[in-house]
Structures are given as C-alpha cells and as structure tokens.
Amino acid sequence: MGRTVTQNELLKPCIHRFLYLLRSGIFLLALMLVACTARPQMPIQRGVQLPMMVPSNVIVGQSIPVTIGPSAEPDGTMVMLIALDSFGPRTYSATLSGGSVRFIIPGEDTQRAGIVLLMARTPNGYGTASIVLQAGPAIAPLTLHVGPHTVPADGISLGMVVAIPNDTYGNAISSGDPVELRFQNPTGTIVTRDVAAQNGIAWIRMPGGTQAGRMLVVGRAGTAHGPEADLSLTAGWPISFTLMADPATLPADGHRLLTLRTSVIRDRYGNPMPDGTLLTLIVTMPDGTMQNIPAYTIDGVAEAPLQAAREPGIAQAIGTVYGMTSMPLEITFSAGPAVGKIQVVAEMDQQSHLLRVRVGPLLGQLGQLTPDGTLVTMVVTDAAGRSQSISGTTDTGYASATIALSALTPGAGRVNVRVGSGQGETAFSVP
C-alpha cells in the first residue's frame, strides 16, 4: 500500500504551474506592450523666441556667421541650426555658452544662390531668420544659344541669341546684371547691345538684314567672355531666273548630252540662293514624255545634263525652285545621225543558212560617218508578208545583222532600214 498523499503535496505542483503561467503571461504582456507602443515623438518645442543675428545679404561661397542668443537656457544646451536653401536642408549643432552660440556656416554650404531659411531650436526655444545668398559674377565661358542657326536675309526674319551666364557655382547671375552682346554683320559692321539679365538669362533678337552671309555673335558678362556663335543669313525667296541649254541643239541620236543651266538665282536683295538649293528641271521631250531632273545650286547656279532625244523635234524645259518657275526653254533635236539614202545589201549564206544584211556607209549631214555604236534597225519582210526586226550597231559607218533562213518563208522578200532621217531598202529571194 503506498504512502498517503497529502493535500499540500497535491497542491504544490499546481501552484508552481500557476505561478509559472502567471510569470510567462506577465512577461508576454510586457513584451507586447513594448512592441506595440509607438516610438515616442518628441514634439518640436516652439517655445521661447530665440534671437538670431545673421547678415541679410551674402555672396555665394562666403561663410556666414550666425549668432543665436541670448538665451536663458543653461550653458551646454544643445542648439540645432537648420539651413534650408533653394535645394534643401543642412543641419549644424553646437552648445550654448554664456547664453549664446555662434555658428559659422562654411562657404561650401553657401554655394547656391537664393533665399535661405535659417531655423534654430533648443529644447525650449525656437528662432527663424532668413538670408539672401546672391550669385557671384559670371565666369567664362559665357554660353550663348543662337537659334535658329539660319534665317533668311529677307529684311523680316529674326534670329535670337540667349546668354545663360553662370557664376562659379553654377548659379544664374542676378537679375539686372548687364550682359554685352556684339554682332558682326556679313557686311563687316559691328553692333554692340547691352542687355540686362532677367530670370537667369539675357537675350536679344537679331534682325536678319538683307545681306546674306555669316553673322558672328560674341557675349560678355563682366569679365567673362565666351566663344563666338554664328548665325547664317541666307537668301530669301528667289525672284525670276532663266534657263539655257549648252549646246542649244543636238542631233536626235539618243546618246549625246547637253547641259541645262540656270542663270544665277537670287532673292529680291540680290543674294544668290545658298549652295545645295534644290531646283527641279521639268523637260517635255519631242515624243511627249516628261522628265523631272533634280539640280542643286552652286554659287546660285543649278545645272543638269539632258540626254538627246531619239526622235527629232523640239523639247521644252522649265526650272522651278521654291515655287518660282523659269520661262520655258525650247531645245531642238535635229534629224540624225544618218541622212539621205542608205545602201543596203542582203546576201544569202547557203552554208550557214543565214540571210546576211549589211548597211552602209551611214553618213551624217556633212558626209561624215555616223558615230560608232549608232543603233541600226532593219525590218525584214518575207514572201508571206511577215516582218521581223533585226538590229546592229555601226562600226566605222557600217552595220550588219543576220537572220536564219528557216525563219523566212521562201520567196521574194524585202529589207527596209531607217537610221535618223536616212532610209534604204533592198530585196532578196529565199530559195
């Protein structure tokens, strides 16, 4: 029989367990309280007004003395100074000594122009002040923006030059600071204009004038100079111009070239069109076909080659640029290259079963041989009346071509030849 368990012995573990649970609970509760409690935020004590002594104006880059006090707070009290300039805050801290504290904001923290808000705070005090940081003098190089870079010298159009002067730290110079702008016109005259900087820039309109060329622009702000900028002044809208052909006529050989050339194309003030101005030549050939030939001006003149027509007749050409059209130019393509009656010989080559046609000599108007390579077309008509074209090119005034006899109907046939205005024919018989 076992030992009798007393009531105390029964209760003991229960009490221990209860106390354990209680301790754990208290611990967990404390833990939760700590975890859930928001981080206390110390309110900003506006409190007593702190006197602040600062200069009202300082040039950027200079150190700024800031004296705070007198304050009734004890020596050793921490004073925080916040400087909020155009771009953001900087903080400084020091301790009160003798009821006041003196900060020196270093020059590297005062490089941005504009108004700076200064706030000082102690545990029981708050003070504000403001200070204007003025931009320093402009430094080289002075940046000039010229735009547009090219304007017509038509007496109306304007260019513009914008100077953006900076001080050493990149601040725009103060409004009202003078900027000198000098222009040298294409005629060589120099014009000087003084402009006051406003809102960080100095600008002026530049009249284009009536003289095409290059205008140079130079700026200066105080002792700061900058590189030159330029403005191209180009001719304005063209006025009337003429078109000419060189040579004036050509034989209609389909090979030779003539040059179509404009007169010097100028604006109303006599300025020639800038190089590279596109001119379009519109040529109507004797057979009615049209050609658009681009041409670009050099020294105000545009020119382009034109190939001779195959058919004799008159071609018409006009030039057009910026909506201005020249008077029509007529170009005559004379008959040619051969004239008169052309000798044609047709021979049977029984061995090779060919009909050999030989044409020549082909002679020009002055009796000269036609240029080598002139195309000669021969029309062969057989006994059945069927026509076939064969062709050859001239070599020293003669041209020849062959056709297989098997392609021809036996019987009497004819060969007709036409080169330019020259004609010839002959007969043959296929066995």
Partner: protein, 575 residues
C-alpha cells in the same frame, strides 16, 4: 456494409485523391513551365516614363504671360513647360523620399542637377530623412526662345511642405512655405529640363495661430459677432444634432442615400425644435482627390432639403482619413477644393468642420504632422470658401485651444460627466476669450447589458441632457449638438472598436429609438425647453440588467454555498 464494398469505397476515395493531386501537379508545373518560357513582357521594353503621374494632385495655375517673352507661347508648349517643371518637383520629392538621386537627370540638367543631387546626398550623409512635397504652383512663363530650346518661368506661388527627421527619427523641422522661384529650362534630348532654379522669396506659413481673416458671409448665412453666432442680425443659438440615417449609419449613409428618408428625418429634427444638423463626409468614400459627382449631388440634395426645412448644416470633412503623409496632401487639397467651391454659396451651411477629432491622431501620427496639415487645410478652406465659418471638432475642451485664433468657431466634444463641464468650459473660455464656442458632440448611451456595468437608462439619459444643457445655459456657449438622432442597429468597428462593450453604447446613443419614437431626453433639446427633470433616487442606478443579473448571481451563489456547507456539516463531503 460488406468488407468488399468498404474496400471499393476506400479505393475509389484514394483514386479520387490521386486524380486531384495529379491534376494539381500538372496544372502547377505547366504554369511554371509557361512562366519561365514566356520571357519578358514586351511592354516593359518600352519603359516610357509618363510626363505626369496620374494621381498627382498638385494645384497648377498658369498665369498669362506679361510683356515680351521672346516668342509667342502656344498652349501645347506652355503645358509642356509646366509639366516639365512639375515633373522636376516630383522627381526631387521622390529622390528625397528614397534618399537616392538617380531619378533627377530625368528632369534636371546642368547646375540645377548638380545642386539637387548634392543636396540629397548631403542629407543622406547627415542622416536626415526629408519629406518634401510641393502642393501648389502658380507659373508664369517669362521667356521662350525663337528656336524653342530655352525657356524661363517664374513660379509665383510655390507652396511646399517639409518634414525633416534626424538620424533617430525624431522630427527636427516641420513647416509649410510659400516661395517664389525663377527657373531656366532647356530642351534636351527631346524633353524640357530644369537647368537653373533659384528661390527668390520665401515665407514660412506657420498656421498654428495665424488669423485667417474673417469670413465674409453672404445673406442667410451664419456669421460671428463676439462670442455669438448671428443669423440675419439676430443671435443664433445652435440647438443641433449629429446625424446619420437610422438604417444606414456611417459608411452606409451616402451610398444608400434615400431622399424620402432624409426628408422624413429632417422633418423629425425640426419637430424636435432643432435648428442645426451635423453630418460627415467620408473622405475615401467620396472619392478622395476625384470627388464622386454622384455623391456630391447627394450632398447638395441634403443641403437643399435642410434649407427647405430651415435647418443649418455643419459639414464635417475628411471623415475617417487617418493618413497624414505629406505626399497625399495634394489629393486632400483637391478634395477640399471640389467640395468647398461647389457649396461656397449654399445658405444651408453653417460651418465647415474640417476634421472630426483630429487630436485623436496625435499619438499615432505625431502632433506636428497633424497640426501642420490642419493649418494648411484651414488656409485653403478659407481660400476656397470665404463665406462660411470654419471649425474643427476637437475631442475635448482641453485640446480645443489649438488653432483657437484661426478658427471662426470653437467646437469641442464632451462625453465626461456633466458635473465638470462648467469647469472645462471655463478653462476653454479663459484660453479663448471672444470666440464663439459650441459643444459639438455630447451624449449618453441607453445601452444596457447583463454582463457589463456601464449601462444607462433612458431616465438617466434625460438627466444627463438636462444637466449638460442647464450647465451650458449658464455660459456664453453658442449652442450644442447632441450625439445622435437615432439608435443604430450596427456600428462599424472603425468607429469605436468591435467588442460588445464598445459597440453597444455606440448603438444606443440616440435621442430616438430605432423605430423613431422619442426617448425622454429628446424633448429637452428644443430651445426654451423645461430642463427640470426629476432627479433619480440613489437606488435607481441599480435597476439595470447588469445589477439585477449580478444580484441574481449573488443569490444563486449564496444558495449553492449554503447547500455545500450543509452537505459538509452533514458529513457528505463537498460534492
């Protein structure tokens, strides 16, 4: 059930499970396979940063150009320049928020980029956490070059707010400023960028006690004369009520707005002798920045009906808005602007209550931040509506001194025992002499529960109202508004919590029962009502379910204990 059938069922079940697992495996693995084979979304290759962030709500005012600006500025260019400037501010703010200047080259160039970058890096080095938000800009273009490559503008009213915390997270600066900036913008790589930025003027807007300027009430609007409210030249003592419809309180009110019910309730208020009603505009529900036109129309309908019933309305704004992050201020500004400009001439409005009990957010958000937002919103409210009074519904008389000089009407809430009300009021009056003061909320619930001791009877409620109103009548208070008209069936957890002892009292704070029948206290609100309510005997407080239930439990316990003792004495043991 036979053994074979049981086996069959088990096998079928196992087979079904295997099928489900197999299908799930195939589905998941195929999705994974598809995911890894899909590659990048082609749209991400065109990571085009929009010029304007869609939900930015910064107020932009474009002023007409004056004088020679170099070249005529077309609307498109003006808009592009303004957006580029706004974008620069946004990038700047974001750079501060992230402590990283990477985004700045999107909007800055040249010296301005160097300066902004250096400042942000310096702040990071110093351990400063800067929250900077621009709230409004008034831009005037001052120059635009002929070739469209350079422009300048002046920001004549840059409104900014900044919160600066030190390494420990403690606020070392909070402030709102109004500044003027001169900016040079250049067109680079197809977009405008700020090349120069110089602040030329700066005013710190410390609104804590800054007088906003007197409202200019139009005809039929309530105005202030000393400590009194005045309507049509006569003193106007507010006898008012806080209101939600009985079946659709709090967030259910405006979505379920029923004109017929509203009309009925307004008639009931009028029949109770009331002249003022206080309502609430939930910020998020009304659309936040983009106020919902349909709800705005409903508010207009409510005001029209109140006017027709000769009731004035105190409209409480920004209800349930607890996020005071400055990045969201522009949105609340637009919310305020939309509502106030719409109803600035409405004769039914007595006052705009800017926020209900904002002091309760002090602990969570920090007093500086809350007060900074309140000061900012107060200033804006007066700008948007120069006619109506502006107040804030503080949760206690103690804190109601905040912005005392800036508010047209001081409003505090008091749910403490009425015995100390006079002392609390006197303290407030001493701090704010010469300002009209109203008790914006007070009340006593008639909720009772057998399990919780804090119940009250309707008779106690009537006594409470009689005590409060009697006390107020001895002061120069400009009136009071009871909480609330009805008993409600449900209360959102966001109002008072979700425990029964929290929601119960909130449900039964009304002067009318849920079925519309009045409680005894309802008759006391009418101006000139007889407040001589018979005092309750001392024992009446125990005639409530809790005490009766407690008594029953005591009796029951006593009975059980007696039986146990008797058994023990009879040697039968405890059980």
């Amino acid at each position: 059930m036979s053994k074979t059938r049981l086996k069959l069922i088990i096998w079928l079940f196992l087979g079904f499970c295997c099928a489900v697992i197999g299908l799930a495996t195939v589905s998941v693995s195929s999705r994974l396979l598809a995911f890894f084979q899909r590659g990048a979304d082609p749209a991400t290759a065109l990571n085009i940063v929009p010029n304007v962030v869609p939900d930015i709500g910064v107020k932009l005012t474009l002023l007409p150009e004056q004088g020679d600006v170099g070249r005529m500025i077309d609307n498109y260019t003006r808009e592009q320049l303004a957006q580029a400037y706004m974008r620069a501010w946004l990038e700047w703010n974001l750079a501060y928020a992230r402590g990283d200047a990477r985004g700045l080259p999107t909007a800055f160039t040249g010296p301005a980029l160097l300066a902004a970058r250096a400042t942000i890096e310096s702040a990071v080095d110093q351990g400063l956490m800067v929250t900077q938000v621009d709230l409004a800009h008034r831009l005037q273009m001052t120059f635009y070059s002929i070739d469209g490559s350079v422009a300048t503008l002046t920001d004549l009213g840059s409104n900014e707010v900044r919160l600066i915390r030190d390494r420990t997270g403690a606020l070392i600066y909070t402030g709102e400023t109004q500044a003027t900036y001169a900016a040079v913008l250049v067109f680079e790589d197809g977009r405008w960028r700020v090349r120069q930025l110089t602040r030329t003027t700066l005013e710190a807007l410390d609104g804590t006690n800054k007088v906003l300027g007197q409202p200019q009430p139009a005809a039929a609007m309530v105005s202030v004369r000393g400590t009194d409210l005045v309507l049509d030249g006569k003193p106007y003592a507010i006898a008012g009520i806080n209101y939600y419809p009985q079946a659709t309180p709090w967030e259910l009110f405006w979505p379920n707005y029923t004109p017929a019910l509203i009309e009925r309730d307004l008639v009931r208020m009028r029949s109770l002798g009331l002249n003022t009603v206080r309502i609430f505009i939930p910020y998020e529900q009304f659309g936040g920045r983009d106020v919902r036109p349909d709800l705005l129309d409903r508010l207009g309908d409510f005001l029209d009906r109140a006017h027709a019933n000769q009731l004035k309305v105190i409209v409480t704004l920004f209800d349930f808005r607890g996020d005071y992050n400055p990045l969201l201020w522009p949105q609340s500004d637009r919310h305020l602007e939309t509502i106030l400009t719409r109803f600035m001439d409405h004769p039914a409005i007595l006052a705009w209550d800017l926020k209900n009990e904002p002091d309760l957010d002090y602990k969570r958000v920090g007093r500086e931040t809350v007060d900074l937002w309140l000061a900012h919103s107060l200033r804006l409210a007066r700008t948007y509506d120069p006619h109506h009074l502006i107040t804030i519904g503080w949760s206690s008389a103690e804190v109601a001194t905040t912005f005392g000089q800036a508010l047209d009407l001081i409003s505090f809430h008091d749910y403490l025992p009425p015995q100390g009300l006079l002392a609390r009021y006197a303290q407030l009056r001493t701090a704010l002499p010469g300002r009209p003061i109203i008790l914006g909320e007070y009340g006593l619930p008639t909720w009772n529960s057998p399990f919780f001791p804090n119940g009250h009877t309707e008779a106690e409620q009537a006594n409470y109202y009689a005590d409060v109103l009697s006390a107020l009548h001895t002061t120069d208070a400009a009136g009071s508004l009871a909480w609330t008209l009805y008993d409600y069936g449900r209360v959102p957890a966001s109002v008072a919590g979700s425990w029964p002892w929290q929601t119960g009292p909130q449900q039964q704070l009304g002067l009318l029962h849920a079925n519309g029948t009045p409680k005894p206290a309802a008759a006391l609100l009418r101006p000139g009502a007889d407040l001589a309510v018979a005092p309750l005997p001392w024992w009446a407080r125990f005639l409530k379910p809790f005490w009766l239930f407690l008594g029953f439990l005591v009796l029951l316990g006593g009975r059980v204990a007696w039986r146990l003792v008797r058994r023990r004495r009879m040697g039968k043991g405890w059980i």
